[in-house]
């Protein structure tokens, strides 16, 4: 007889969402099992840029982002390890040929203030005074002093270890190949036949989640994409804020941040396809080249730096670039938190805490209506 591993909540997907949800569920006293195909935090959670950025998110997402920022600030005490979170600011700029963005920044700043996010709008001159490495093509910017960045390679594993210390069961190298609801319980079967059961199932499986939700009749189209990431050699630490470009053109959306050790992490420009079935993603050299091109406009002084490594990952995008977050519309006890569309890192711990609250109490003050699964399954 196969032994069935039973818990209150089963979580498929050990990324930042799943691991932080497990941590907060344990804080609320529920027993949790996280099932991860590979190692925790290795996919999108571990390969993203590491922006802990609120500004630029939809206004309706700021309550969730605000919840997350408190957790990031408390992370050393909460997790017992350093995930290199730096509240060193975030600057969002627009280029000269897109002056219409100034109005959009002003409008955004006014609305964000009502949600508790203070943004300082800076003219070209003010910007360059404050950040002399910005290029002459930069027209204006919006500065958030309370945003920052953290190390994605460390964050999700730190949540997993902290959850495990509280008693969560973190099960790696375990691919769930079948799930169904049998009576009151969800029954999950791993590739090697091991079985797991729980009355509540949370799907936080990123680019792989659409397929799993499909087992429960909620087929959700996710496009697997691969970010273009690079990192430079270390140089003396001189750039505090994370920097990004506001533009409707994906190829121009370059962003960078300097870590305390000195390396500058680059992201943005065109994303490539990724291959979740093979667990593979590749950086396309042509995208690295457009990334360099637009970075040189943004910060010409970086042109001399050597890039020493590039990487990518597998991210799941929804059609409207907003996540699916909340209860299933079809199966009671089933919850979703996936499809973060390349923008999940900052809100990650807030997603975990919100999902834990929703699961444990049946309600949350965080507005979730924009993330309803029904927008894709009607």
């Amino acid at each position: 007889m196969t032994q069935i591993h039973q818990s209150d909540v089963a979580i498929i997907g050990g990324g930042l969402m799943g691991c932080s949800a497990a941590f907060f569920l344990r804080q609320r006293g529920m027993s949790v099992t996280v099932l991860e195909t590979d190692k925790v935090g290795r996919q999108a959670s571990g390969t993203n840029f590491g922006n802990v950025r609120r500004q630029g998110r939809p206004i309706f997402q700021l309550p969730l982002a605000n919840r997350a920022i408190r957790i990031w600030r408390d992370s050393p005490q909460l997790l017992g390890s350093d995930v290199e979170y730096l509240q060193s600011g975030h600057i969002r700029v627009c280029f000269r040929e897109r002056p219409e963005n100034i109005g959009k920044m002003e409008e955004y700043a006014a609305l964000a203030r009502e949600e508790g996010l203070d943004l300082e709008l800076l003219s070209a001159n003010a910007l360059r005074e404050k950040f002399p490495w910005l290029g002459p093509d930069v027209l204006a910017g919006s500065y958030s002093a309370t945003d920052g960045h953290a190390n994605p390679r460390l964050a999700a594993p730190a949540f997993a270890r902290a959850a495990a210390r509280l008693g969560a069961s973190i099960v790696e190298d375990t691919k769930i190949v079948h799930a169904e609801k049998v009576g009151e319980d969800f029954r999950l079967t791993a590739e090697d036949g091991r079985q797991f059961a729980a009355p509540i199932l949370l799907i936080t499986a990123g680019a792989w989640a659409g397929k799993i939700a499909g087992w429960f009749g909620e087929e959700i189209p996710l496009t697997p994409r691969a970010p273009t990431m690079s990192v430079t050699e270390p140089v003396p630490y001189a750039i505090a804020p994370a920097v990004g470009v506001m533009t409707p053109e994906e190829v121009e959306t370059v962003y960078f941040r300097q870590v305390a050790r000195g390396n500058i992490v680059l992201g943005g420009s065109t994303r490539a396809a990724s291959y979740p079935d093979d667990y593979r993603s590749y950086v396309l050299p042509q995208n690295t080249m457009t990334q360099f091109e637009h970075l040189r406009r943004l910060a010409p002084a970086l042109a001399n730096l050597q890039v020493i490594r590039v990487w990518s990952g597998i991210e799941g995008y929804t059609d409207d670039a907003l996540p699916i977050m909340g209860p299933s519309a079809k199966v009671s006890g089933l919850f979703h938190a996936f499809g973060f569309s390349g923008s999940g890192f900052q809100i990650g711990p807030g997603v975990g805490e919100t999902m834990a609250e929703l699961i444990a109490t049946g309600a949350t003050d965080i507005p979730l209506e924009h993330y309803a699964v029904t927008r894709f399954t009607k």
Binding site: P132, R261, N304
Partner: protein
């Protein structure tokens, strides 16, 4: 400063002048930048890190003088006056080169 490298043969070559950290030196035509520098000094650059801890204000892991001489280890990058990088082991020395063994980006935050 003591020379690290010692010339043994092929010393009958025309001289080449360059500047290293502001000091004029004479090398030989055909030298790599590394040989030009290490026949006058004992290091090319300084490691950015002190132990495995985050970079200290003044890195003290130590000075470096290259390692592989075949373009693989990347431990011999030096800087030109304009801030461009040169891999000393695979760059031929040229008359008039101005080379720094220190990273120029230290003053980024203050430059216009």
């Amino acid at each position: 400063m003591t020379a690290r490298f010692r010339r043994l043969v092929e010393t009958d070559r025309p001289p080449v002048s360059l500047t290293i950290d502001g000091v004029g030196v004479t090398a030989l035509l055909g030298d790599t930048l590394m040989v030009a520098m290490l026949t006058h000094g004992d290091a090319l650059r300084t490691s950015e890190f002190a132990g495995s801890e985050p970079a200290a204000p003044e890195p003290s892991d130590g000075r470096r003088a290259g390692f592989c001489l075949m373009g693989a280890c990347q431990d011999c990058w030096v800087w030109t006056a304009s801030g461009a990088r040169l891999r000393a082991c695979s760059t031929p020395v040229q008359n008039g080169m101005t080379i720094s063994t220190r990273q120029p980006e230290a003053t980024w935050a203050n430059i216009a």
